[in-house]
């Protein structure tokens, strides 16, 4: 896949550190499933974790832990099977593997909820401070102009959009923070579907945006 927009170093490091919210981590993992260049950088950040683990002073371990593990090892084969990994679900090729855990079935068959004409969303099944959802925007429509109090990740799964930063197609990620005010415009012939996450609520900068803010849940 030809990917032109990649993850910020700071986002990637926090992903490896395990310090991203569930929603942000899902977007990062989904981009990594597409992007070998970012995957290689993620491996370096994992190695940083390994080095830091190695640098820690040892904590005392109960004497019988090793014996307990060795006893468990000797249990019959059946305990070794890990249910999640043994039954890979039928996977729609449009859906990146990490997202496949939470979205079953083709994107077109999801229960989309309309915000305004041409804009719909599908929420991820968890609650957090920020937003974590799929967003579906019709051709020619634009997201409301907004800035962020925190970070915002947008991964394109279908179609494309353009904003002040550039053009984003399938696999591309927009990794933005509060330095940027932007208004993405869908420029593909088909609906643009993105996986998005924020770590804080968005701030809309137009009056209309402020009016619909309570409605959109952003």
């Amino acid at each position: 896949m030809n990917i032109n927009h990649h993850l910020d170093d700071a986002t990637l490091m926090s992903y490896s550190a395990g310090s991203l919210s569930q929603g942000m981590a899902l977007v990062v993992a989904s981009h990594l499933a597409f992007c070998s260049a970012c995957r290689e950088r993620a491996e370096m950040n994992d190695a940083v974790g390994g080095v830091l683990l190695e640098s820690l002073d040892a904590e005392t371990i109960e004497d019988d832990m090793l014996a307990a593990i060795l006893a468990q090892i000797d249990e019959p084969e059946t305990s070794i099977i890990e249910p999640q990994q043994q039954t890979p679900r039928a996977c729609d090729p449009e859906i990146p593997m990490p997202l496949n855990e939470y979205v079953s079935g083709p994107l077109d068959e999801l229960q989309w909820k309309r915000i305004v004409p041409g804009v719909a969303y599908y929420d991820m099944p968890w609650q957090g401070r920020g937003v974590s959802r799929l967003l579906r925007i019709a051709p020619g429509k634009s997201m409301l102009t907004h800035t962020h109090n925190g970070n915002e990740l947008t991964l394109v799964l279908r179609g494309s959009f353009s904003d002040e930063v550039g053009r984003f197609c399938r696999g591309d990620i927009a990794d933005l923070d509060d330095q940027i005010e932007h208004q993405p415009l869908v420029d593909s012939d088909e609906d643009c579907i993105c996986l998005i996450a924020t770590d804080a609520p968005l701030r809309f900068t137009t009056l209309f945006g402020k009016l619909v803010q309570p409605m959109t849940g952003f």
Binding site: S36, A42, G50
Partner: protein
């Protein structure tokens, strides 16, 4: 890294005292476990890594008794998943860190930390530039020690305390952008070493 045939060095490793084991030795040892289950090797690995895994989990803010349980789970999965480990792809400490991280987060959030796929590790095992991961880890360790305090601090807060950028910004009373630029600067230095560009002692 000189390439030795598997099995050749295992007895030498076993003879080494704990303190003499370098990062590469642990990776070789786990590499042997990947090919052939061996409780004697596992016990060596356990006595080195279990106390560090517990220290990591405690730092994340998990209570001691739970940390003990979680450590046992992580170390059990080291045995059970050992066949998925590739010494040419990652150092033993890296691989064990990712297991400890994922299982700790899963426990703390009651939600699986999204991963891009451990299985792909095996498929992409022989990408260019690989084969020296174990040595690279030693270099990264040296480089982390040389980072300016402010950069090291945000890295520690990310990895050891699991803090988000916003959380770190609040704690240190600095703008979000400063947190990110500190992490970027540190990342830039580490990348140069990882990529093999002009590493100077």
């Amino acid at each position: 890294m000189n390439k030795r045939p598997p099995g050749d060095d295992v007895d030498n490793i076993i003879q080494l005292k704990q303190a003499e084991m370098a990062s590469a030795d642990w990776s070789n040892l786990l590499g042997h476990l990947a090919v052939k289950p061996d409780k004697r090797l596992y016990a060596r690995l356990f006595s080195h890594f279990a106390p560090k895994v517990k220290a990591y989990i405690v730092r994340l803010g998990v209570a001691l008794a739970t940390a003990e349980e979680l450590t046992q789970e992580v170390m059990l999965s080291v045995w059970r998943k050992a066949h998925m480990y590739h010494p040419e792809k990652a150092a033993a400490s890296t691989w064990i860190f990712t297991l400890a991280r994922n299982q700790s987060i899963d426990w703390m959030r009651k939600q699986k930390y999204p991963q891009y796929s451990l299985d792909e590790w095996s498929e992409t095992a022989s990408e260019p530039g690989q084969g020296e991961q174990k040595v690279l880890s030693d270099r990264i360790a040296a480089a982390i020690k040389l980072l300016p305090e402010k950069q090291a601090q945000v890295i520690y807060m990310s990895y050891f305390e699991g803090r988000s950028h916003g959380d770190i910004a609040g704690r240190l009373d600095i703008p979000l952008g400063s947190v990110k630029s500190r992490i970027r600067l540190a990342s830039e230095k580490l990348k140069q070493i990882w990529g093999g560009d002009q590493y100077e002692h």
